[in-house]
């Protein structure tokens, strides 16, 4: 049974509306610092909706973040300054009262203890301290978080859950709460106007989304199968509902949080990201859909994989820490690959210049006056290495020389990539600049890593974190690879570009959860 307790608290609701108004305004017009503050507010709002937080100093402390009212008035106008002042007043007045969600939850926990019921509280580990303060009888065993722990528990009488059923953010929980109940009753405490996430409770076999069915949003089976799990639903409201007294098209809190996350991502140079959590308490954010290096100790193999919910758990995430060496001027003495391909190019031009140009055009090298350009590429390095400007064109050139004119020296699969890095360096550009260059470097890192894998000892494989150095004689790349054993991958974060590819503690990433 789903026993849903809706907690209504008029001042808290108004406070949330004011906060949302201010957040929206800051995101529209704010400077970088204020925008960061808005994200803190957003995070805090999400926390307040999913954790039994006391109405105390934290409320007013949070609202002091944007600065003085005068400053707010100057930057955002009178309406926002009034909203902030009103929010202050509300927060101060609320400090005199107990959070009604806390009292309702405490009463329920005491009742469960009195009745001798076996129960668990589904709560983020960081929120456990708030719950624990509600009853001295609560122990660590009463708390539960994560899919694997939920999947492993014996059935209980009651599962308590604060906040709506969502698959992301502070209050996230497994769809299995609805599709595979391990309890007789799910007692859910939600603030008024906090809806469960759409499409929550998906059974991928039947296509039924139980959350939608319970909320009368449809969610029927795509296969026409009879839903085998039937839920009884009871909804009780606790406290004063202020819905009629507010002449405002009130948006659901979580809809707002979700909307602004999407709406402002581009504008604030944010993007969808996956958070790869390491076992050591750290992790790294990578753009969604981007391939990363994975080392699988069981297969003793390395792959480029997209961290999209599967395959990485238990493997190692590999972070190449590769020096960008020798940028800047040309070092003619160090030019190795260009000498080789230029020599072959000169030979071919001397034999059949036109045929070469024709083959290049057939390969998609659509340059004007291509025959003159090809001649230029034969020139020796002076300040830069004369060569095609685009990776695709250079690749086509090497391919034609290697295959059409049987230049076996160029047939090595890594030759083109290494020669291209040499060209880029000669132009004083970091090889990590730009998409094409980054791709080339990544492939080189991948190829080199594959060669180094046999050197990883079993002792290292037993560790959760280790490094291997790039051998000094390795061509073009210098540095090391850091290996981190992966605990899990979290999807659905929206983060600024600036914090991607940096190792961060898991707690630092909390701000980007909505």
């Amino acid at each position: 049974m789903l026993d849903r307790r809706v907690i209504a608290c008029h001042p808290f609701r108004i406070l949330r509306i004011k906060m949302r108004m201010i957040i929206q305004s800051i995101l529209d017009r704010g400077n970088d610092h204020d925008i960061e503050v808005a994200y803190v507010w957003r995070n805090r709002l999400s926390e307040w909706l999913t954790v039994p937080v006391p109405f105390d100093q934290v409320l007013t402390d949070t609202l002091q973040l944007p600065g003085t009212l005068i400053q707010v008035n100057q930057i955002y106008g009178k309406e926002i300054a009034d909203a902030l002042e009103s929010a202050f007043d509300l927060a101060r007045s609320m400090r005199q009262t107990e959070n009604p969600l806390i009292s309702a939850l405490r009463d329920e926990i005491e009742k469960l203890f009195r009745e001798g019921k076996d129960f668990r509280i589904y709560a983020h580990p960081k929120s456990v301290r708030y719950h624990s303060s509600l009853s001295e009888n609560l122990t660590e065993q009463h708390f539960l978080y994560g899919n694997s722990r939920y999947g492993a528990i014996e059935p209980v009488d009651v599962l308590l859950k604060i906040g709506p059923l969502r698959s992301i953010g502070w209050g996230k929980c497994p769809d299995a709460l609805l599709t595979s109940p391990r309890f007789r009753t799910l007692t859910q405490f939600v603030w008024y106007r906090s809806s469960d996430e759409e499409h929550f409770g998906l059974d991928p076999v039947t296509g039924v989304m139980i959350g939608d069915v319970l909320a009368d949003r449809g969610g029927q089976s795509v296969t026409g199968l009879v839903q085998s799990l039937q839920w009884d639903v009871r909804i009780d409201q606790v406290g004063y509902s202020a819905d009629d007294s507010i002449n405002d098209p009130d948006e659901d809190d979580f809809s707002f949080l979700f909307r602004i996350q999407k709406e402002y991502a581009d504008r604030h140079q944010s993007r969808s990201a996956s958070f790869i959590k390491f076992i050591n308490g750290y992790g790294i954010l990578v753009p969604s859909g981007t391939a990363v290096l994975e080392y699988d100790p069981e297969r003793s193999s390395v792959d480029l994989v997209r961290p999209e919910g599967n395959h990485l758990d238990g493997s190692f995430f590999v972070l190449p820490v590769i020096e960008a060496v020798d940028f800047g001027g040309v070092h003619v003495d160090n030019v190795r690959y260009s000498e080789i391909w230029k020599r072959h190019l000169s030979e071919v031009i001397s034999i059949d210049h036109e045929d070469l140009c024709q083959k290049l055009q057939e390969k998609g090298v659509g340059l004007l006056n291509i025959c003159a350009r090809v001649q230029e590429w034969c020139n020796p390095p002076v300040t830069v290495i004369p060569a095609p400007q685009k990776w695709e064109h250079f690749c086509a050139l090497i391919s034609v020389l290697a295959n059409r004119y049987h230049k076996t020296e160029l047939q090595d699969e890594h030759f083109a990539k290494r020669a291209w890095v040499e060209i880029r360096r000669s132009k004083g550009k970091a090889i990590t600049e730009g998409r094409q260059e980054h791709q080339v470097q990544r492939e080189l890192e991948y190829e080199l890593l594959k060669e180094l894998i046999p050197g990883i000892t079993s002792a290292k494989m037993g560790e959760d974190e280790f490094e291997i150095n790039v051998p000094p004689d390795a061509p073009d790349l210098k540095g090391l690879y850091r290996f981190f054993r992966v605990e899990s991958v979290e999807q659905g974060l929206t983060v600024p570009d600036a914090i991607l590819y940096e190792i961060r503690s898991i707690s630092e990433v909390d701000i980007w959860r909505g």
Partner: protein, 315 residues
């Protein structure tokens, strides 16, 4: 017929166990040439092993390979056969008996190798196998628990001659986390009938380190992407978990396996991303497959509470 999850407490076979066995049997038996089924379970379970056992039970009810079929298969190969570390060259058939000659490996300790020995015997008395395959036929290494196999599915009888022949029509694809995660669960379930008691692992007759056994279920390691034996391709693959299912479907789509039927047994307590990945995969497959009511055609009962089944066949 009794069932146990602890080897001490025995009770009647639960409905969910019977259901999974019957799904394995019925899907193997069905006329679908190319199709897949998905079963969702409320928790991590040995469900895939049970479905594979049901499928294996179906193939135990079929006619075994005839001696002529086996001789034909050997003739079509390079004729090299193995038993333990010994190698034999198949020379031909003599009134149903196989004529083989032992191939003596060069041994530097012997100045004069012994002369090759020639033998003629029925294949089931020779316990021979192809390289990296299990024993073709045996009268001494036959599968035990014939009563248990018979009682697993009452609607058909078992053909006892199958107990002495290896078969690779059924394949169990282990969890991506590692084969041991799958096989550990198989060791924890037991069946008993009269004096016969066996774990699910034993009943599946999985090859356990040696090729010199009779085995009727192939094991696929999803992590290393390897079958436990070479030889004939499976006809039905039962995938344990979402990752294994996605892997097998990809192998099927790209033509790397020829199995016509795939059954995925998945756990609904998996992470949302994984659940979404199954939904997305099935959505993509619906361009080529359509929902197929396995239940109504075979009179299988509806899934027990907490389980769900969907079957699809090629359009």
């Amino acid at each position: 017929m009794k069932y146990s999850e602890s080897s001490n407490i025995w009770y009647e076979i639960p409905e969910w166990v019977s259901y999974l066995l019957s799904i394995g049997y019925t899907f193997s038996e069905s006329v679908i040439d190319d199709g897949f089924a998905l079963i969702s379970m409320p928790c991590d379970s040995p469900g895939a092993g049970l479905v594979a056992l049901g499928a294996m039970r179906y193939y135990l009810s079929l006619e075994p390979l005839s001696s002529g079929d086996m001789h034909k298969r050997i003739r079509e190969s390079d004729g090299l056969l193995y038993r333990g570390r010994d190698r034999f060259q198949y020379l031909g058939e003599d009134e149903g008996r196989a004529v083989v000659e032992e191939l003596i490996r060069n041994d530097y300790r012997r100045r004069t190798p012994p002369p090759p020995t020639k033998r003629a015997a029925l294949l089931e008395n020779l316990n021979l196998r192809f390289e990296n395959e299990t024993v073709l036929a045996s009268s001494t290494e036959m599968l035990q628990y014939s009563e248990l196999y018979a009682r697993l599915y009452d609607a058909s009888s078992v053909n006892n001659a199958n107990f002495g022949q290896s078969h690779s029509a059924v394949c169990l694809a282990g969890k991506r986390k590692g084969l041991s995660v799958t096989t550990n669960l198989l060791h924890k379930i037991f069946f008993r009938y009269n004096s016969e008691t066996a774990s699910l692992y034993e009943l599946l007759s999985l090859m356990d380190g040696s090729f010199d056994v009779v085995s009727r279920v192939t094991l696929y390691n999803t992590r290393t992407e390897k079958m436990d034996r070479s030889g004939m391709q499976p006809e039905i693959i039962v995938a344990d978990g979402i990752d294994a299912f996605l892997k097998i479907i990809d192998l099927k789509r790209t033509g790397k396996i020829s199995a016509g039927k795939v059954i995925g047994v998945i756990d609904r307590t998996e992470k949302r991303e994984k659940i979404d990945s199954v939904r997305d995969k099935v959505s993509g497959l619906l361009d080529y497959y359509e929902y197929y009511e396995l239940n109504s055609l075979s009179e299988i009962s509806l899934p027990p509470k907490g389980m769900a089944l969907a079957t699809y066949k090629r359009i």
